[in-house]
Amino acid sequence: MTKQPRSIRAVPKIVITLLVLSLFLQIAWHVHLPPPRVQIEKLTEPPQLELLRVFSFGDSVVSAKLLMLWLQAFESQQGQFLSYKQLNYSLLQHWLERILQIDPHSQYPLLAASHLYSMVPDTGKQRLMLDFVYQQFFIDPAKRWRWLAHAAVLAKHRLDDLPLALKYAKALTAHATPEMPRWAQEMQIFILEDMGELERARLVIGGMLASGELTDPNEIKFLNDKLLALEKHSKQK
């Protein structure tokens, strides 16, 4: 049952006057206030792991997701876009690490490190991110290999640091799991070839063929062909 409201005439004039006056005062107060100034906040150290667990209220997966979204949006503060160069990468690394600690199954922090934050035009910062991916790879190689493979590609093509790329590729081969595709395990062959280390590349291929782990005939043929090409190349030299 809805009752019709009484006429506006039923409202005392003083109430209407107060209403209009207070509205104007509010608007005048707003105009009087100084315009908001953009103050860019700096990244701080992430909270302690125990503290994060307490404030996750038993659901750390949700906290990790929220923290990652917050971190991803950190470079756009109050409509101002910060460049990655302005971010403190060592603190950024701590944040990514902390997020992975509370949600170890998540791939997002590793994607952010290897694909987003590594795009910064600062080799020192790039190396920090790639090193972070390298360190984190050993915790769960079966799920994190793709990010290290990408780090190896970046080290080779963006940093032109073949020894670093080889270090990552070697880690991939050494911690190969059934989930890891062959191309990722064979990366070190091509990096060695680019480095002119043909003898070492031949040894790696020889080792792979001798291990008996290869079952795909095409894969075996490809490696055999590669071995022959490397031998031919060595003789020419």
Partner: protein
């Protein structure tokens, strides 16, 4: 049995009249809006982010609306003296209590089902089903707790504050326990020992709600029957405890 069903039906009718389900629909709309927004800002694991954040939002919303509905409904009953009318009828106080509880449990069931169904667009039905059952158990505990609080503190603000405090503590007690285990358990200071003892006591008395309705099940599909069994046992034990406390309070109340 009939008075219990009548009371339960009246609670359901009250929910319809106070537009309880309109609030549920609004919350579902906000939740979906949030999920769509999250889908726009994520680069990978979009479904994981959407399902976990939507589930967290719905879980807290369910707790908020169900608890507030129980408390306001009972406070209203105290204020309009309807409780005196019910208790003047030839029925036991326990019948009144179980009737009310059944009605609120029905509302909790419908809320859990509606919120659980909302997750079906993001997660497999087995995990969504497990999450829904777990949410239902969690809401049953919250319903029983809200009834107990409203019998003890018949004011909305006090009763809801206690429910909220209890819920936060129950969900974070395991983490607090882990926090004090290291530094405080070996400390010779009597204050540290007291805090440690208090935390251990709380952990013993509180239900482990941090093991209920996990977002991890939705994101990594790790939920199984063993989780459900643990949750059902914990719910049964705690509901019986809360009901006994409420009945103890209700029978002693001079109404």
């Amino acid at each position: 049995m009939k008075p219990i069903l009548t009371l339960a039906a009246l609670v359901a009718l009250e929910a319809l009249r106070t537009r309880f389900f309109a609030v549920i629909i609004i919350l579902l709309s906000i939740g979906f809006g949030l999920a769509i927004f999250v889908g726009q800002v994520t680069v990978i694991e979009t479904l994981a982010y959407q399902s976990s954040l939507l589930a967290a939002f719905l879980r807290l919303s369910a707790l908020y609306v169900v608890s507030l509905f129980v408390i306001t409904s009972m406070v209203h009953e105290f204020n309009n003296h309807a409780i005196y009318l019910w208790l003047s009828l030839p029925m036991r106080r326990s019948t009144y209590f179980f009737g009310k509880f059944s009605g609120f449990a029905l509302i909790a069931t419908l809320t859990a089902i509606l919120f659980g169904a909302a997750l079906l667009s993001y997660v497999p039905y087995q995990q969504a089903g497990l999450w829904t059952l777990s949410l239902f158990c969690e809401l049953l505990i919250i319903t029983a707790l809200s009834l107990l609080c409203v019998f003890t503190f018949p004011q909305t603000v006090q009763a809801f504050s206690v429910v909220l405090g209890f819920y936060i503590l129950a969900r974070s007690i395991t983490a607090i326990q882990l926090m004090v285990q290291g530094p405080l358990s070996h400390s010779p200071s009597s204050a540290d020992q007291l805090i440690n003892g208090l935390v251990q006591l709380l952990a013993m008395l509180l239900p482990h709600l941090d093991r209920f309705t996990q977002s991890e099940w939705l994101v990594y599909h790790t939920g199984g029957v063993e989780h459900l069994l643990e949750i059902v046992i914990q719910t049964m034990i705690y509901i019986i405890l809360l009901m006994s406390m409420s009945l103890f309070d209700l029978y002693r109340k001079n109404l």
